[in-house]
Amino acid sequence: MNIISILEEIEKVDAEVYERFSPRRAAMKQFYSFGSKVAIAAAPLALGSMFKKAYGQTSTVAVDAVLNFALKLEYLEYYFYQQGAAASGLVPAGTPAVAAINTIRDHELAHVNLLKGAITGLGKTPVSFTASNFDYTAGGNFSTVFSDYPTFLAVAQVFEDTGVRAYKGQAGNLMATPSVLQTALQIHSVEARHASHIRQMRKTAAGGGVTALKPWITGANDSGVAAAAASYAGEDNIIQAGVTITSLGVSASAATESFDEPLTMAQVNSIASLFIK
């Protein structure tokens, strides 16, 4: 075992390795000295703790900030479906679409309430939004969002797919709080179920279906909404953890479909800001 050579090898690809461990190289020399004295069995323990500090997941975003970020998105979704369900003549009456939209609306409201409670439980203040805070036309881009059914469903799809990506991107920031992480994952998969269904609804939507659409994301922006490109940026990734998925015997489409991709908080905030007055 040669810890020092490991560090030297790392230095070749990460010149700042010593700075990660300690701002002072002198401290590393102390470690060398320390390492040479400790028993072999104990050295990995010291090394493990050192690597953890240097490279381990460090939550740079506080849990309550992640939850408030999620709450904002849930408000965005809830008021969208609430107004859509209430808009006369939008969702075709007497079709299964009515129940589907109501189901999704109710889930988003449940998420709002759950997140509010969780944030309050942390001793923090939940963000607060009302319907009047949102502009679902996104500055006129979707001016018929609550009167034209295909437009409504298109925006719904983008919200759901973006929501999935938003939760996925925050999972790492919740690792220190396992119960919160699990709850977030349990919301994440519900958003994915919504996305799947909305995409199916769009295929045969009254007023104009998008027949090629699948329940999963194919390539990058498959929404048919050019303005939604940012919501699908990177979804065409075919390399996972260094493995090129197309080399495993599946098509490029299947390779992109089989893994959903995350968005950062900044990316999602930028998208959401288009809908916030």
């Binding site: 519900v190 994915a192 179920r193």
Partner: protein
Amino acid sequence: MKNFQQEEQEVLHKESGIFGASLHRRSFLQYAGAGAAGIALVAAGCKKDNETSGSGVNLGSGDIGILNYAYALEQLEAAFYDAVIKTPYSNMPANELSLLTDIRDHELAHREFFKKALGTSAIPGLEVDFTSINFSSRQNVLATAKVFEDLGVSAYNGAGKLIKSADYLLLAGKIVSVEARHAALIRDLIENGTFANMEVIDANGLDKARTPAEVLSMAQSFLKTSINASNLPS
């Protein structure tokens, strides 16, 4: 001591930012992941995790154990959809053939991804037992698909908090939402509008999360190979 040479390479792969090779990164994860890292490392260097023994295929411990757990479930799903497409139920509509073929390809991608990423740490191929499934019956095939997809979603949801590496947590997240898309679609094929009904989503709007023990007890009836999850984190 050769383990440490391995780790040196693994660290290099990690630091290259690309995970260039697919080989076992167990020890790096245990370095980088979380508490008790060093202790787990010593243990990892001293025992083999994945031996097949009288007590079945051992998934192993730590993140490798969780990844093998996912690999086992993906093997099960991939084998199922492979059979569905090879022996389609009669008069399978074109759109269903297309969707189920997509799902087969996704599960195949997941299975092969885990196999490659786990490298020599991967459990062997599992032997499935589908004698209870009537592949000529649409109703039976879709009902089984629903069980597998909902189970898969709940498995990843329950396993996320057991993962120590942020990279692997993200990978699990990338897969679970695809499984959820499958689950919703299969449910809608059975009965439109059941994509997220009260059978799977609770009053708080939450999907299910199951522990590995719960999941494996449900999955085992479809497997001839016995799965030993006794070393998984909990």
